[in-house]
Symmetry: C2
Subunit: 249 residues, 2 copies
Amino acid sequence: MQTNIRLTLQYDGTDFNGWQLQLGRPETRTVQGVVEKAIEEIVGGSVRLMGSGRTDAGVHAKGQVANFHTNNPIPVDRWVFALNCLLPPDVVVTNAEEVPTDFHAQYSAVGKTYYYYIWNNICQNTFLRNYSHHVRRKLRLSAMEEAASYLKGTHNFRSYCSSGSSVKNFVRTIKAIDFETREQILIFQITADGFLYKMVRTIVGTLLEIGMGKYPPEWIKEVLSARSREAAGPTAPAHGLFLQEVFYG
Amino acid sequence: MQTNIRLTLQYDGTDFNGWQLQLGRPETRTVQGVVEKAIEEIVGGSVRLMGSGRTDAGVHAKGQVANFHTNNPIPVDRWVFALNCLLPPDVVVTNAEEVPTDFHAQYSAVGKTYYYYIWNNICQNTFLRNYSHHVRRKLRLSAMEEAASYLKGTHNFRSYCSSGSSVKNFVRTIKAIDFETREQILIFQITADGFLYKMVRTIVGTLLEIGMGKYPPEWIKEVLSARSREAAGPTAPAHGLFLQEVFYG
Protein backbone atom coordinates (compact mmCIF):
# COMPACT_ATOMS: atom_id res chain seq x y z
CA MET A 1 0.00 0.00 0.00
CA GLN A 2 1.65 3.22 -1.18
CA THR A 3 1.48 6.31 1.00
CA ASN A 4 2.10 9.91 0.03
CA ILE A 5 4.15 11.75 2.66
CA ARG A 6 4.29 15.52 2.88
CA LEU A 7 7.31 17.04 4.62
CA THR A 8 7.83 20.57 5.92
CA LEU A 9 11.47 21.56 5.73
CA GLN A 10 13.69 24.28 7.10
CA TYR A 11 17.12 24.88 5.62
CA ASP A 12 20.03 27.26 5.79
CA GLY A 13 20.80 27.86 2.12
CA THR A 14 24.34 29.14 2.73
CA ASP A 15 26.14 25.93 1.85
CA PHE A 16 23.64 24.59 -0.69
CA ASN A 17 23.58 25.02 -4.41
CA GLY A 18 19.86 25.65 -4.21
CA TRP A 19 16.95 23.23 -3.88
CA GLN A 20 17.00 21.40 -7.16
CA LEU A 21 18.96 18.21 -7.81
CA GLN A 22 21.36 18.78 -10.67
CA LEU A 23 21.15 15.69 -12.81
CA GLY A 24 24.53 14.60 -14.12
CA ARG A 25 26.27 16.65 -11.43
CA PRO A 26 25.94 14.44 -8.34
CA GLU A 27 28.80 16.30 -6.59
CA THR A 28 26.70 19.50 -6.39
CA ARG A 29 25.17 19.80 -2.93
CA THR A 30 21.44 20.53 -3.18
CA VAL A 31 18.67 20.35 -0.58
CA GLN A 32 16.60 17.98 -2.71
CA GLY A 33 19.62 15.72 -3.17
CA VAL A 34 20.48 15.64 0.53
CA VAL A 35 16.89 14.94 1.65
CA GLU A 36 16.27 12.31 -1.05
CA LYS A 37 19.43 10.51 0.04
CA ALA A 38 18.22 10.46 3.67
CA ILE A 39 14.79 9.09 2.63
CA GLU A 40 16.46 6.48 0.43
CA GLU A 41 18.63 5.33 3.35
CA ILE A 42 15.45 4.66 5.32
CA VAL A 43 13.36 2.99 2.62
CA GLY A 44 16.28 1.19 0.97
CA GLY A 45 15.31 2.16 -2.56
CA SER A 46 15.07 5.02 -4.97
CA VAL A 47 12.72 7.92 -4.16
CA ARG A 48 11.72 11.11 -5.97
CA LEU A 49 11.06 14.09 -3.69
CA MET A 50 8.91 16.84 -5.19
CA GLY A 51 9.35 20.34 -3.80
CA SER A 52 6.82 23.19 -3.94
CA GLY A 53 9.32 24.96 -6.14
CA ARG A 54 13.03 25.50 -6.39
CA THR A 55 14.95 27.98 -4.32
CA ASP A 56 18.19 29.39 -5.71
CA ALA A 57 21.67 28.93 -4.28
CA GLY A 58 21.97 30.81 -0.98
CA VAL A 59 18.20 31.19 -0.46
CA HIS A 60 16.87 29.88 2.86
CA ALA A 61 13.61 28.22 3.82
CA LYS A 62 11.62 28.15 7.03
CA GLY A 63 8.64 26.34 5.54
CA GLN A 64 9.49 24.58 2.27
CA VAL A 65 7.05 21.76 1.49
CA ALA A 66 7.88 18.56 -0.42
CA ASN A 67 6.26 15.17 -0.90
CA PHE A 68 7.20 11.64 -1.90
CA HIS A 69 5.48 8.29 -2.39
CA THR A 70 6.63 5.18 -0.60
CA ASN A 71 5.63 1.59 0.20
CA ASN A 72 7.63 1.67 3.40
CA PRO A 73 5.36 0.87 6.38
CA ILE A 74 7.16 3.22 8.82
CA PRO A 75 4.45 5.13 10.79
CA VAL A 76 4.14 8.71 9.57
CA ASP A 77 4.95 10.23 12.96
CA ARG A 78 8.37 8.52 12.92
CA TRP A 79 9.56 10.24 9.75
CA VAL A 80 10.51 13.52 11.45
CA PHE A 81 12.79 11.85 13.95
CA ALA A 82 14.20 9.29 11.51
CA LEU A 83 15.08 11.89 8.88
CA ASN A 84 16.56 14.40 11.33
CA CYS A 85 18.89 11.69 12.61
CA LEU A 86 20.30 11.32 9.10
CA LEU A 87 20.19 14.90 7.84
CA PRO A 88 23.10 17.37 8.16
CA PRO A 89 22.65 20.29 10.61
CA ASP A 90 21.63 22.76 7.89
CA VAL A 91 18.39 20.92 6.98
CA VAL A 92 15.65 20.09 9.46
CA VAL A 93 12.33 18.32 8.89
CA THR A 94 9.79 20.08 11.10
CA ASN A 95 6.69 18.10 10.12
CA ALA A 96 5.64 14.95 8.27
CA GLU A 97 2.10 13.89 7.48
CA GLU A 98 0.23 11.49 5.23
CA VAL A 99 -1.69 13.23 2.44
CA PRO A 100 -4.07 12.03 -0.32
CA THR A 101 -2.36 10.24 -3.25
CA ASP A 102 -3.01 13.12 -5.62
CA PHE A 103 -1.32 15.74 -3.42
CA HIS A 104 1.63 17.28 -5.27
CA ALA A 105 3.83 19.82 -3.42
CA GLN A 106 4.18 21.98 -6.53
CA TYR A 107 0.91 21.59 -8.43
CA SER A 108 -1.35 21.58 -5.38
CA ALA A 109 0.15 24.80 -3.98
CA VAL A 110 -2.19 27.80 -4.10
CA GLY A 111 0.17 30.41 -2.70
CA LYS A 112 3.46 31.18 -1.01
CA THR A 113 4.91 33.71 1.38
CA TYR A 114 8.50 34.91 1.11
CA TYR A 115 10.37 37.10 3.59
CA TYR A 116 13.35 39.23 2.63
CA TYR A 117 15.57 40.47 5.48
CA ILE A 118 17.37 43.81 5.19
CA TRP A 119 19.93 45.02 7.72
CA ASN A 120 19.89 48.77 7.22
CA ASN A 121 22.77 50.12 9.28
CA ILE A 122 26.13 51.72 8.67
CA CYS A 123 27.74 48.74 10.48
CA GLN A 124 27.36 45.12 9.46
CA ASN A 125 25.65 42.76 11.94
CA THR A 126 27.85 39.69 12.09
CA PHE A 127 25.00 37.41 13.20
CA LEU A 128 22.93 38.37 10.16
CA ARG A 129 25.72 38.29 7.59
CA ASN A 130 24.39 35.14 5.91
CA TYR A 131 20.72 35.87 6.62
CA SER A 132 20.11 39.43 5.48
CA HIS A 133 21.12 41.93 2.84
CA HIS A 134 23.27 44.65 4.38
CA VAL A 135 22.31 48.12 3.14
CA ARG A 136 24.46 50.93 4.57
CA ARG A 137 22.58 53.92 3.17
CA LYS A 138 19.58 54.99 5.27
CA LEU A 139 16.42 53.75 3.51
CA ARG A 140 13.26 55.82 3.17
CA LEU A 141 10.82 53.22 4.45
CA SER A 142 7.66 55.22 3.74
CA ALA A 143 8.62 55.55 0.05
CA MET A 144 9.25 51.80 -0.15
CA GLU A 145 5.93 51.06 1.53
CA GLU A 146 4.08 53.32 -0.89
CA ALA A 147 5.82 51.72 -3.89
CA ALA A 148 5.11 48.20 -2.61
CA SER A 149 1.41 49.00 -2.30
CA TYR A 150 1.24 49.65 -6.08
CA LEU A 151 2.21 46.03 -6.76
CA LYS A 152 -0.68 44.57 -4.78
CA GLY A 153 -3.30 42.80 -6.88
CA THR A 154 -3.20 41.06 -10.25
CA HIS A 155 -0.59 42.25 -12.76
CA ASN A 156 1.66 41.07 -15.53
CA PHE A 157 4.99 40.76 -13.71
CA ARG A 158 7.20 40.18 -16.74
CA SER A 159 9.44 43.11 -15.70
CA TYR A 160 10.12 41.31 -12.43
CA CYS A 161 11.01 37.95 -13.99
CA SER A 162 14.61 37.04 -14.80
CA SER A 163 15.39 35.36 -18.07
CA GLY A 164 16.12 31.65 -17.81
CA SER A 165 12.49 30.85 -17.06
CA SER A 166 10.28 28.97 -19.52
CA VAL A 167 6.93 30.31 -18.32
CA LYS A 168 4.54 31.88 -20.83
CA ASN A 169 2.09 33.44 -18.42
CA PHE A 170 3.50 36.32 -16.39
CA VAL A 171 0.26 37.23 -14.61
CA ARG A 172 0.36 36.73 -10.85
CA THR A 173 -1.72 38.01 -7.94
CA ILE A 174 0.00 39.58 -4.95
CA LYS A 175 -2.32 39.13 -2.00
CA ALA A 176 -0.23 40.82 0.66
CA ILE A 177 2.91 42.92 0.51
CA ASP A 178 4.33 44.70 3.52
CA PHE A 179 7.32 45.74 5.59
CA GLU A 180 7.78 44.94 9.26
CA THR A 181 10.60 46.03 11.54
CA ARG A 182 11.68 43.49 14.13
CA GLU A 183 14.69 44.14 16.41
CA GLN A 184 15.97 46.75 13.94
CA ILE A 185 15.75 44.28 11.04
CA LEU A 186 13.60 45.39 8.13
CA ILE A 187 11.56 42.44 6.88
CA PHE A 188 9.83 42.59 3.51
CA GLN A 189 6.91 40.16 3.43
CA ILE A 190 5.12 39.12 0.26
CA THR A 191 2.34 36.61 -0.40
CA ALA A 192 1.16 35.69 -3.90
CA ASP A 193 -0.57 32.84 -5.72
CA GLY A 194 2.75 32.12 -7.37
CA PHE A 195 6.11 33.69 -8.14
CA LEU A 196 8.13 34.06 -11.32
CA TYR A 197 11.85 33.32 -11.54
CA LYS A 198 13.72 35.67 -9.14
CA MET A 199 10.55 37.75 -8.79
CA VAL A 200 10.92 38.53 -5.07
CA ARG A 201 14.58 39.49 -5.38
CA THR A 202 13.84 41.73 -8.38
CA ILE A 203 10.97 43.44 -6.55
CA VAL A 204 13.24 43.99 -3.52
CA GLY A 205 16.06 45.30 -5.72
CA THR A 206 13.61 47.73 -7.31
CA LEU A 207 12.16 48.82 -3.96
CA LEU A 208 15.69 49.47 -2.67
CA GLU A 209 16.36 51.88 -5.57
CA ILE A 210 13.30 53.78 -4.38
CA GLY A 211 14.33 53.50 -0.71
CA MET A 212 17.73 55.00 -1.57
CA GLY A 213 15.99 57.92 -3.28
CA LYS A 214 17.09 57.15 -6.85
CA TYR A 215 13.48 57.00 -8.05
CA PRO A 216 10.09 58.12 -6.70
CA PRO A 217 7.59 55.47 -5.48
CA GLU A 218 5.53 55.80 -8.70
CA TRP A 219 8.49 54.50 -10.73
CA ILE A 220 7.46 50.98 -9.73
CA LYS A 221 4.31 51.36 -11.87
CA GLU A 222 6.38 52.42 -14.88
CA VAL A 223 8.55 49.35 -14.41
CA LEU A 224 5.44 47.18 -14.24
CA SER A 225 3.98 48.53 -17.50
CA ALA A 226 7.30 48.24 -19.36
CA ARG A 227 7.00 44.43 -19.31
CA SER A 228 10.74 44.11 -19.67
CA ARG A 229 13.31 42.95 -17.12
CA GLU A 230 15.62 45.79 -18.14
CA ALA A 231 13.17 48.34 -16.73
CA ALA A 232 13.48 47.03 -13.15
CA GLY A 233 16.20 47.48 -10.52
CA PRO A 234 18.98 44.96 -9.82
CA THR A 235 18.30 41.52 -8.34
CA ALA A 236 18.78 41.70 -4.57
CA PRO A 237 21.23 39.09 -3.20
CA ALA A 238 20.02 35.56 -2.48
CA HIS A 239 21.10 35.34 1.16
CA GLY A 240 18.40 37.78 2.39
CA LEU A 241 15.56 35.63 1.04
CA PHE A 242 13.51 33.08 2.99
CA LEU A 243 10.72 30.86 1.69
CA GLN A 244 8.48 31.31 4.70
CA GLU A 245 5.32 29.29 3.97
CA VAL A 246 3.55 27.38 1.20
CA PHE A 247 -0.26 27.32 1.12
CA TYR A 248 -2.54 24.52 -0.05
CA GLY A 249 -6.28 24.51 -0.68
CA MET B 1 49.95 62.86 22.24
CA GLN B 2 48.64 59.42 23.24
CA THR B 3 44.94 58.72 23.05
CA ASN B 4 43.01 55.93 24.69
CA ILE B 5 40.43 54.42 22.33
CA ARG B 6 37.50 52.36 23.55
CA LEU B 7 35.94 49.95 21.05
CA THR B 8 32.61 48.16 21.21
CA LEU B 9 32.79 44.82 19.43
CA GLN B 10 30.38 42.22 18.15
CA TYR B 11 31.61 38.77 17.23
CA ASP B 12 30.36 35.38 16.19
CA GLY B 13 32.38 33.07 18.42
CA THR B 14 31.81 29.96 16.27
CA ASP B 15 35.17 30.02 14.50
CA PHE B 16 37.21 31.63 17.27
CA ASN B 17 39.23 30.01 19.97
CA GLY B 18 37.83 32.53 22.43
CA TRP B 19 38.78 36.12 23.10
CA GLN B 20 42.22 35.83 24.57
CA LEU B 21 45.42 35.84 22.57
CA GLN B 22 47.33 32.64 23.20
CA LEU B 23 50.94 33.65 23.60
CA GLY B 24 53.31 31.21 21.95
CA ARG B 25 50.47 29.84 19.81
CA PRO B 26 50.11 32.46 17.08
CA GLU B 27 48.25 30.00 14.82
CA THR B 28 45.28 29.90 17.24
CA ARG B 29 42.55 32.24 15.95
CA THR B 30 41.34 34.50 18.77
CA VAL B 31 39.24 37.69 18.68
CA GLN B 32 41.88 39.69 20.52
CA GLY B 33 44.53 38.50 18.07
CA VAL B 34 42.44 39.33 14.98
CA VAL B 35 41.47 42.81 16.22
CA GLU B 36 45.00 43.66 17.43
CA LYS B 37 46.35 42.70 14.02
CA ALA B 38 43.85 45.03 12.29
CA ILE B 39 44.76 47.92 14.63
CA GLU B 40 48.46 47.25 14.06
CA GLU B 41 47.96 47.39 10.29
CA ILE B 42 46.51 50.88 10.71
CA VAL B 43 48.99 52.29 13.21
CA GLY B 44 51.99 50.45 11.79
CA GLY B 45 53.29 49.31 15.15
CA SER B 46 52.62 46.99 18.05
CA VAL B 47 49.45 47.50 20.09
CA ARG B 48 47.99 45.82 23.15
CA LEU B 49 44.18 45.55 23.16
CA MET B 50 42.61 45.10 26.58
CA GLY B 51 39.22 43.39 26.72
CA SER B 52 36.63 43.70 29.50
CA GLY B 53 37.24 40.01 30.11
CA ARG B 54 37.81 36.87 28.13
CA THR B 55 35.07 34.88 26.50
CA ASP B 56 35.62 31.16 25.95
CA ALA B 57 35.82 29.36 22.61
CA GLY B 58 32.41 29.40 20.90
CA VAL B 59 30.97 32.19 23.08
CA HIS B 60 29.57 35.18 21.16
CA ALA B 61 29.49 38.90 21.94
CA LYS B 62 27.09 41.65 20.99
CA GLY B 63 28.73 44.27 23.18
CA GLN B 64 32.27 43.33 24.18
CA VAL B 65 34.35 46.38 25.15
CA ALA B 66 38.09 46.76 24.69
CA ASN B 67 40.58 49.61 24.73
CA PHE B 68 44.06 50.45 23.45
CA HIS B 69 46.48 53.37 23.59
CA THR B 70 47.92 54.89 20.45
CA ASN B 71 49.87 57.88 19.18
CA ASN B 72 48.24 57.60 15.78
CA PRO B 73 46.46 60.86 14.90
CA ILE B 74 43.55 59.21 13.01
CA PRO B 75 40.28 60.94 14.12
CA VAL B 76 38.32 58.76 16.51
CA ASP B 77 35.23 58.62 14.30
CA ARG B 78 37.30 56.99 11.50
CA TRP B 79 38.28 53.96 13.59
CA VAL B 80 34.97 52.11 13.08
CA PHE B 81 35.15 52.30 9.30
CA ALA B 82 38.90 51.70 9.08
CA LEU B 83 38.80 48.60 11.30
CA ASN B 84 35.71 47.09 9.69
CA CYS B 85 37.45 47.30 6.31
CA LEU B 86 40.24 45.10 7.65
CA LEU B 87 38.34 42.76 9.95
CA PRO B 88 36.93 39.36 8.86
CA PRO B 89 33.11 39.07 8.61
CA ASP B 90 32.75 37.43 12.02
CA VAL B 91 33.98 40.49 13.99
CA VAL B 92 32.44 43.94 13.72
CA VAL B 93 33.40 47.15 15.51
CA THR B 94 30.15 48.96 16.30
CA ASN B 95 31.56 51.97 18.15
CA ALA B 96 34.85 53.75 18.86
CA GLU B 97 35.35 56.67 21.21
CA GLU B 98 38.14 58.48 22.97
CA VAL B 99 38.19 57.87 26.73
CA PRO B 100 40.32 59.25 29.62
CA THR B 101 43.85 57.83 29.83
CA ASP B 102 43.05 55.84 32.95
CA PHE B 103 40.10 54.00 31.40
CA HIS B 104 40.74 50.24 31.37
CA ALA B 105 38.17 47.96 29.72
CA GLN B 106 38.60 45.32 32.43
CA TYR B 107 39.37 47.24 35.64
CA SER B 108 36.96 50.11 34.99
CA ALA B 109 34.00 47.78 34.35
CA VAL B 110 31.33 47.85 37.05
CA GLY B 111 29.02 45.21 35.63
CA LYS B 112 28.10 42.97 32.72
CA THR B 113 25.03 41.45 31.16
CA TYR B 114 25.09 38.02 29.56
CA TYR B 115 22.29 36.39 27.55
CA TYR B 116 21.97 32.65 27.15
CA TYR B 117 19.73 31.40 24.31
CA ILE B 118 17.81 28.14 24.65
CA TRP B 119 15.87 26.55 21.80
CA ASN B 120 13.37 24.33 23.61
CA ASN B 121 11.72 22.26 20.93
CA ILE B 122 11.64 18.65 19.84
CA CYS B 123 13.08 19.76 16.46
CA GLN B 124 16.34 21.62 15.97
CA ASN B 125 16.16 25.13 14.48
CA THR B 126 18.83 25.21 11.80
CA PHE B 127 19.21 29.00 11.98
CA LEU B 128 19.95 28.84 15.70
CA ARG B 129 22.24 25.82 15.65
CA ASN B 130 25.37 27.88 16.42
CA TYR B 131 23.58 30.51 18.52
CA SER B 132 21.50 28.59 21.04
CA HIS B 133 21.52 25.46 23.15
CA HIS B 134 18.98 22.98 21.82
CA VAL B 135 16.97 21.31 24.60
CA ARG B 136 14.44 18.72 23.38
CA ARG B 137 12.70 17.97 26.64
CA LYS B 138 9.92 20.44 27.52
CA LEU B 139 11.26 22.78 30.21
CA ARG B 140 9.24 23.89 33.25
CA LEU B 141 9.84 27.61 32.91
CA SER B 142 8.10 28.62 36.15
CA ALA B 143 10.39 26.30 38.16
CA MET B 144 13.44 27.80 36.45
CA GLU B 145 12.22 31.32 37.12
CA GLU B 146 11.66 30.53 40.78
CA ALA B 147 15.11 28.96 41.09
CA ALA B 148 16.78 31.89 39.32
CA SER B 149 15.19 34.34 41.75
CA TYR B 150 17.04 32.65 44.65
CA LEU B 151 20.36 33.63 43.10
CA LYS B 152 19.59 37.34 43.03
CA GLY B 153 21.67 39.45 45.40
CA THR B 154 25.11 39.02 46.96
CA HIS B 155 26.36 35.47 47.47
CA ASN B 156 29.48 33.36 47.47
CA PHE B 157 29.27 31.73 44.03
CA ARG B 158 32.12 29.24 44.47
CA SER B 159 29.77 26.38 43.47
CA TYR B 160 29.20 28.11 40.14
CA CYS B 161 32.88 28.67 39.34
CA SER B 162 34.86 26.18 37.27
CA SER B 163 38.34 25.26 38.37
CA GLY B 164 41.11 26.82 36.32
CA SER B 165 40.44 30.25 37.76
CA SER B 166 42.90 31.96 40.09
CA VAL B 167 40.41 34.20 41.91
CA LYS B 168 40.30 34.15 45.70
CA ASN B 169 37.07 36.06 46.22
CA PHE B 170 33.96 34.23 45.06
CA VAL B 171 31.46 36.84 46.23
CA ARG B 172 29.49 38.50 43.45
CA THR B 173 26.26 40.47 43.29
CA ILE B 174 23.57 39.49 40.80
CA LYS B 175 21.54 42.61 40.10
CA ALA B 176 19.05 41.16 37.63
CA ILE B 177 18.26 37.59 36.59
CA ASP B 178 15.36 36.74 34.34
CA PHE B 179 13.94 34.74 31.46
CA GLU B 180 12.32 36.24 28.39
CA THR B 181 10.67 34.42 25.49
CA ARG B 182 11.18 36.00 22.06
CA GLU B 183 9.92 34.29 18.90
CA GLN B 184 9.81 30.96 20.76
CA ILE B 185 13.42 31.34 21.92
CA LEU B 186 13.96 31.22 25.67
CA ILE B 187 16.51 33.87 26.65
CA PHE B 188 18.15 33.77 30.06
CA GLN B 189 19.38 37.24 31.02
CA ILE B 190 21.75 37.92 33.88
CA THR B 191 23.44 41.11 35.10
CA ALA B 192 26.06 41.14 37.85
CA ASP B 193 28.95 43.28 39.08
CA GLY B 194 31.26 40.55 37.83
CA PHE B 195 31.30 36.90 36.85
CA LEU B 196 33.48 33.96 37.86
CA TYR B 197 34.97 31.51 35.36
CA LYS B 198 32.12 29.77 33.47
CA MET B 199 29.65 31.12 36.05
CA VAL B 200 26.80 31.86 33.60
CA ARG B 201 27.08 28.48 31.88
CA THR B 202 27.14 26.67 35.24
CA ILE B 203 24.09 28.59 36.45
CA VAL B 204 22.27 27.76 33.19
CA GLY B 205 23.29 24.10 33.40
CA THR B 206 21.94 23.98 36.96
CA LEU B 207 18.71 25.77 36.04
CA LEU B 208 18.19 23.28 33.19
CA GLU B 209 18.35 20.36 35.64
CA ILE B 210 15.51 22.06 37.52
CA GLY B 211 13.63 22.85 34.30
CA MET B 212 13.80 19.18 33.33
CA GLY B 213 12.32 18.24 36.68
CA LYS B 214 15.38 16.45 38.09
CA TYR B 215 15.47 18.76 41.11
CA PRO B 216 13.04 21.21 42.77
CA PRO B 217 13.70 24.99 42.51
CA GLU B 218 15.04 25.10 46.08
CA TRP B 219 17.92 22.84 45.10
CA ILE B 220 19.70 25.88 43.72
CA LYS B 221 20.07 27.20 47.29
CA GLU B 222 21.62 23.92 48.44
CA VAL B 223 24.10 24.15 45.57
CA LEU B 224 24.95 27.71 46.58
CA SER B 225 25.65 26.81 50.21
CA ALA B 226 27.75 23.76 49.26
CA ARG B 227 30.51 26.09 47.94
CA SER B 228 31.78 23.33 45.71
CA ARG B 229 31.60 23.04 41.93
CA GLU B 230 30.63 19.36 42.29
CA ALA B 231 27.30 20.37 43.83
CA ALA B 232 26.10 22.23 40.71
CA GLY B 233 24.71 20.97 37.40
CA PRO B 234 26.75 20.52 34.21
CA THR B 235 28.24 23.46 32.33
CA ALA B 236 25.84 24.46 29.54
CA PRO B 237 27.46 24.58 26.07
CA ALA B 238 29.38 27.69 24.99
CA HIS B 239 27.48 28.42 21.76
CA GLY B 240 24.29 29.56 23.57
CA LEU B 241 26.14 32.33 25.44
CA PHE B 242 26.37 36.00 24.42
CA LEU B 243 28.23 38.78 26.20
CA GLN B 244 25.52 41.39 25.78
CA GLU B 245 26.79 44.54 27.46
CA VAL B 246 29.56 45.83 29.71
CA PHE B 247 28.83 48.68 32.13
CA TYR B 248 31.14 51.46 33.29
CA GLY B 249 30.71 54.01 36.08
